[in-house]
Amino acid sequence: MSATSKDFKTPNAIVRGKGPLREGLHHWWAQRLTSIALVPLTLWMVVSALYLTGADWNAYQAWVSEFGNLLMLILFFVAGFYHMALGLQVIVEDYVHSEAWKFFLIITIKFGSLMLGVACIIAALSVAFGG
Protein backbone atom coordinates (compact mmCIF):
# COMPACT_ATOMS: atom_id res chain seq x y z
CA MET A 1 0.00 0.00 0.00
CA SER A 2 2.94 2.32 0.43
CA ALA A 3 5.63 3.19 -2.07
CA THR A 4 7.97 0.73 -0.41
CA SER A 5 5.92 -2.31 -1.52
CA LYS A 6 6.99 -4.04 -4.72
CA ASP A 7 3.89 -2.82 -6.51
CA PHE A 8 4.16 0.81 -7.60
CA LYS A 9 0.49 1.03 -8.50
CA THR A 10 -1.91 3.10 -6.46
CA PRO A 11 -4.65 1.14 -4.63
CA ASN A 12 -7.16 2.28 -7.23
CA ALA A 13 -5.01 1.11 -10.10
CA ILE A 14 -4.53 -2.27 -8.42
CA VAL A 15 -8.26 -3.00 -8.23
CA ARG A 16 -9.44 -1.31 -11.41
CA GLY A 17 -11.03 -3.80 -13.79
CA LYS A 18 -11.03 -6.66 -11.28
CA GLY A 19 -14.48 -6.43 -9.67
CA PRO A 20 -17.67 -7.70 -11.32
CA LEU A 21 -17.96 -4.45 -13.30
CA ARG A 22 -14.64 -5.14 -15.12
CA GLU A 23 -14.66 -2.78 -18.10
CA GLY A 24 -18.32 -1.97 -17.67
CA LEU A 25 -17.87 1.73 -17.13
CA HIS A 26 -15.50 2.07 -20.04
CA HIS A 27 -17.97 0.17 -22.19
CA TRP A 28 -20.78 2.50 -21.10
CA TRP A 29 -18.78 5.60 -22.01
CA ALA A 30 -17.56 4.23 -25.32
CA GLN A 31 -21.16 3.39 -26.22
CA ARG A 32 -22.25 6.96 -25.47
CA LEU A 33 -19.36 8.58 -27.31
CA THR A 34 -19.81 6.47 -30.42
CA SER A 35 -23.55 7.17 -30.27
CA ILE A 36 -22.99 10.91 -30.17
CA ALA A 37 -20.58 10.70 -33.10
CA LEU A 38 -22.98 8.51 -35.03
CA VAL A 39 -25.83 11.03 -34.91
CA PRO A 40 -24.30 13.41 -37.48
CA LEU A 41 -22.39 10.60 -39.20
CA THR A 42 -25.50 8.50 -39.81
CA LEU A 43 -27.49 11.46 -41.10
CA TRP A 44 -24.61 12.28 -43.43
CA MET A 45 -24.51 8.63 -44.51
CA VAL A 46 -28.21 8.70 -45.45
CA VAL A 47 -27.76 11.84 -47.53
CA SER A 48 -24.67 10.34 -49.19
CA ALA A 49 -26.52 7.13 -49.98
CA LEU A 50 -29.22 9.22 -51.65
CA TYR A 51 -26.57 11.03 -53.65
CA LEU A 52 -24.97 7.75 -54.74
CA THR A 53 -28.25 6.09 -55.76
CA GLY A 54 -27.76 4.34 -59.07
CA ALA A 55 -24.21 5.64 -59.34
CA ASP A 56 -21.65 3.87 -61.47
CA TRP A 57 -18.11 3.20 -60.32
CA ASN A 58 -16.73 6.45 -61.75
CA ALA A 59 -19.30 8.51 -59.89
CA TYR A 60 -18.49 6.69 -56.66
CA GLN A 61 -14.77 7.10 -57.26
CA ALA A 62 -15.16 10.83 -57.81
CA TRP A 63 -17.26 11.12 -54.67
CA VAL A 64 -14.97 9.14 -52.39
CA SER A 65 -11.86 10.93 -53.64
CA GLU A 66 -13.06 14.14 -52.08
CA PHE A 67 -11.32 14.64 -48.76
CA GLY A 68 -14.47 15.57 -46.84
CA ASN A 69 -16.39 12.53 -48.02
CA LEU A 70 -13.51 10.16 -47.40
CA LEU A 71 -13.04 11.55 -43.90
CA MET A 72 -16.70 11.26 -42.96
CA LEU A 73 -16.89 7.77 -44.45
CA ILE A 74 -13.92 6.51 -42.48
CA LEU A 75 -15.16 8.13 -39.27
CA PHE A 76 -18.52 6.48 -39.86
CA PHE A 77 -16.80 3.10 -40.19
CA VAL A 78 -14.75 3.59 -37.03
CA ALA A 79 -17.61 4.81 -34.86
CA GLY A 80 -20.13 2.47 -36.45
CA PHE A 81 -18.22 -0.78 -36.14
CA TYR A 82 -17.06 0.06 -32.62
CA HIS A 83 -20.66 0.86 -31.62
CA MET A 84 -21.82 -2.33 -33.27
CA ALA A 85 -19.29 -4.44 -31.38
CA LEU A 86 -20.30 -2.90 -28.05
CA GLY A 87 -24.00 -3.38 -28.73
CA LEU A 88 -23.62 -7.00 -29.81
CA GLN A 89 -21.51 -7.66 -26.74
CA VAL A 90 -24.36 -6.44 -24.53
CA ILE A 91 -26.78 -8.74 -26.31
CA VAL A 92 -24.50 -11.74 -25.76
CA GLU A 93 -24.08 -10.82 -22.10
CA ASP A 94 -27.86 -10.62 -21.72
CA TYR A 95 -28.85 -13.90 -23.32
CA VAL A 96 -25.86 -16.21 -23.22
CA HIS A 97 -25.25 -17.77 -19.83
CA SER A 98 -22.50 -20.23 -20.57
CA GLU A 99 -19.21 -18.61 -19.66
CA ALA A 100 -17.41 -20.54 -22.40
CA TRP A 101 -19.87 -19.41 -25.11
CA LYS A 102 -19.73 -15.84 -23.86
CA PHE A 103 -15.96 -15.88 -24.13
CA PHE A 104 -16.00 -17.30 -27.65
CA LEU A 105 -18.82 -15.09 -28.95
CA ILE A 106 -17.48 -11.86 -27.51
CA ILE A 107 -14.03 -12.46 -28.97
CA THR A 108 -15.61 -13.32 -32.33
CA ILE A 109 -17.63 -10.10 -32.19
CA LYS A 110 -14.61 -7.98 -31.37
CA PHE A 111 -12.36 -9.57 -34.00
CA GLY A 112 -15.11 -9.61 -36.62
CA SER A 113 -15.99 -5.96 -36.11
CA LEU A 114 -12.34 -4.99 -36.23
CA MET A 115 -11.76 -6.94 -39.43
CA LEU A 116 -14.85 -5.51 -41.11
CA GLY A 117 -13.94 -2.00 -40.05
CA VAL A 118 -10.39 -2.29 -41.35
CA ALA A 119 -11.64 -3.89 -44.57
CA CYS A 120 -14.05 -1.02 -45.19
CA ILE A 121 -11.42 1.63 -44.46
CA ILE A 122 -8.90 0.00 -46.78
CA ALA A 123 -11.55 -0.43 -49.49
CA ALA A 124 -12.52 3.25 -49.30
CA LEU A 125 -8.90 4.40 -49.33
CA SER A 126 -7.96 2.16 -52.23
CA VAL A 127 -10.68 3.58 -54.47
CA ALA A 128 -10.02 7.15 -53.34
CA PHE A 129 -6.28 6.97 -54.00
CA GLY A 130 -6.04 4.11 -56.47
CA GLY A 131 -8.49 5.53 -58.95
Partner: protein
Protein backbone atom coordinates in the same frame (compact mmCIF):
# COMPACT_ATOMS: atom_id res chain seq x y z
CA UNK B 1 -38.60 -22.42 -8.00
CA UNK B 2 -39.24 -25.22 -5.56
CA UNK B 3 -41.03 -23.55 -2.69
CA UNK B 4 -43.75 -26.21 -2.69
CA UNK B 5 -46.45 -23.81 -3.83
CA UNK B 6 -49.04 -25.27 -6.18
CA UNK B 7 -50.08 -21.98 -7.70
CA UNK B 8 -50.06 -22.06 -11.50
CA UNK B 9 -47.25 -20.04 -13.01
CA UNK B 10 -47.61 -18.09 -16.23
CA UNK B 11 -45.51 -19.64 -18.99
CA UNK B 12 -43.47 -16.51 -19.49
CA UNK B 13 -44.12 -13.11 -17.99
CA UNK B 14 -43.23 -11.48 -21.28
CA UNK B 15 -46.40 -12.85 -22.84
CA UNK B 16 -48.68 -10.96 -20.53
CA UNK B 17 -46.86 -7.69 -20.49
CA UNK B 18 -45.53 -7.54 -24.02
CA UNK B 19 -48.19 -9.02 -26.26
CA UNK B 20 -51.53 -9.07 -24.46
CA UNK B 21 -50.90 -5.68 -22.89
CA UNK B 22 -48.00 -4.06 -24.70
CA UNK B 23 -46.30 -1.24 -22.86
CA UNK B 24 -44.69 1.50 -24.81
CA UNK B 25 -41.54 1.35 -22.68
CA UNK B 26 -40.72 -2.33 -23.04
CA UNK B 27 -41.96 -2.51 -26.62
CA UNK B 28 -39.84 0.39 -27.87
CA UNK B 29 -36.88 -0.98 -25.95
CA UNK B 30 -37.29 -4.28 -27.74
CA UNK B 31 -37.53 -2.51 -31.10
CA UNK B 32 -34.38 -0.58 -30.24
CA UNK B 33 -32.49 -3.82 -29.76
CA UNK B 34 -34.15 -5.35 -32.82
CA UNK B 35 -33.20 -2.44 -35.08
CA UNK B 36 -29.69 -2.57 -33.65
CA UNK B 37 -29.34 -6.14 -34.81
CA UNK B 38 -30.95 -5.27 -38.15
CA UNK B 39 -28.33 -2.58 -38.58
CA UNK B 40 -25.62 -5.20 -38.16
CA UNK B 41 -27.02 -6.65 -41.36
CA UNK B 42 -26.95 -3.15 -42.81
CA UNK B 43 -23.30 -2.82 -41.83
CA UNK B 44 -22.50 -6.08 -43.58
CA UNK B 45 -24.26 -4.93 -46.75
CA UNK B 46 -22.40 -1.62 -46.59
CA UNK B 47 -19.12 -3.46 -46.13
CA UNK B 48 -19.91 -5.65 -49.14
CA UNK B 49 -20.73 -2.59 -51.23
CA UNK B 50 -17.59 -0.66 -50.30
CA UNK B 51 -15.30 -3.65 -50.77
CA UNK B 52 -16.98 -4.45 -54.11
CA UNK B 53 -16.04 -0.95 -55.27
CA UNK B 54 -12.44 -1.68 -54.32
CA UNK B 55 -12.56 -4.72 -56.55
CA UNK B 56 -13.41 -2.61 -59.57
CA UNK B 57 -16.28 -1.43 -61.77
CA UNK B 58 -17.69 -4.88 -62.60
CA UNK B 59 -17.91 -5.95 -58.98
CA UNK B 60 -19.37 -2.57 -58.05
CA UNK B 61 -21.99 -2.77 -60.80
CA UNK B 62 -23.00 -6.20 -59.53
CA UNK B 63 -23.36 -4.77 -56.02
CA UNK B 64 -25.46 -1.87 -57.29
CA UNK B 65 -27.60 -4.24 -59.29
CA UNK B 66 -28.18 -6.47 -56.26
CA UNK B 67 -29.14 -3.49 -54.14
CA UNK B 68 -31.51 -2.34 -56.88
CA UNK B 69 -33.31 -5.69 -57.05
CA UNK B 70 -36.57 -6.02 -55.18
CA UNK B 71 -34.90 -7.94 -52.36
CA UNK B 72 -32.23 -5.26 -52.19
CA UNK B 73 -34.82 -2.50 -52.10
CA UNK B 74 -36.75 -4.25 -49.35
CA UNK B 75 -33.57 -4.69 -47.35
CA UNK B 76 -32.57 -1.06 -47.82
CA UNK B 77 -36.03 0.03 -46.75
CA UNK B 78 -35.70 -2.04 -43.58
CA UNK B 79 -32.23 -0.63 -42.94
CA UNK B 80 -33.47 2.93 -43.47
CA UNK B 81 -36.26 2.55 -40.95
CA UNK B 82 -33.91 0.79 -38.52
CA UNK B 83 -31.36 3.57 -38.82
CA UNK B 84 -33.84 6.37 -38.18
CA UNK B 85 -35.54 4.54 -35.34
CA UNK B 86 -32.30 3.48 -33.66
CA UNK B 87 -30.89 6.99 -34.02
CA UNK B 88 -33.93 8.69 -32.51
CA UNK B 89 -34.34 6.18 -29.69
CA UNK B 90 -30.59 6.35 -29.08
CA UNK B 91 -30.92 10.09 -28.47
CA UNK B 92 -33.86 9.34 -26.17
CA UNK B 93 -31.58 6.93 -24.27
CA UNK B 94 -28.94 9.58 -23.87
CA UNK B 95 -31.51 12.05 -22.60
CA UNK B 96 -32.35 9.49 -19.92
CA UNK B 97 -28.64 9.32 -19.12
CA UNK B 98 -28.69 12.99 -18.16
CA UNK B 99 -31.88 12.39 -16.23
CA UNK B 100 -34.38 13.91 -18.60
CA UNK B 101 -37.77 12.42 -19.36
CA UNK B 102 -37.88 9.50 -16.95
CA UNK B 103 -41.49 10.05 -15.89
CA UNK B 104 -44.27 8.12 -17.59
CA UNK B 105 -45.98 10.97 -19.50
CA UNK B 106 -42.69 12.15 -21.00
CA UNK B 107 -41.73 8.57 -21.79
CA UNK B 108 -44.91 8.17 -23.79
CA UNK B 109 -44.48 11.48 -25.56
CA UNK B 110 -40.84 10.98 -26.50
CA UNK B 111 -41.62 7.39 -27.44
CA UNK B 112 -44.20 8.50 -29.97
CA UNK B 113 -41.86 11.19 -31.26
CA UNK B 114 -39.26 8.50 -31.92
CA UNK B 115 -41.72 6.35 -33.85
CA UNK B 116 -42.94 9.37 -35.81
CA UNK B 117 -39.40 10.46 -36.62
CA UNK B 118 -38.55 6.98 -37.86
CA UNK B 119 -41.60 6.77 -40.11
CA UNK B 120 -41.30 10.32 -41.46
CA UNK B 121 -37.55 10.00 -42.00
CA UNK B 122 -37.95 6.73 -43.86
CA UNK B 123 -40.80 8.10 -45.96
CA UNK B 124 -39.02 11.27 -47.03
CA UNK B 125 -35.72 9.53 -47.69
CA UNK B 126 -37.38 7.05 -50.01
CA UNK B 127 -39.65 9.63 -51.63
CA UNK B 128 -36.53 11.64 -52.37
CA UNK B 129 -34.69 8.57 -53.65
CA UNK B 130 -37.49 7.73 -56.04
CA UNK B 131 -37.72 11.34 -57.19
CA UNK B 132 -33.98 11.40 -57.88
CA UNK B 133 -33.85 8.06 -59.56
Amino acid sequence: MSTGSNRPLSPHLFIYRLIYRPQITSFLSLIHRFTGVALVGGALVLAYWVVAAAYGPEAFDTAQWLLGSWIGILALLAFTFSAFYHLANGIRHMLWDIGFGLDMPTLELTGWIVVLFACVGTFFTWAFAMYLY
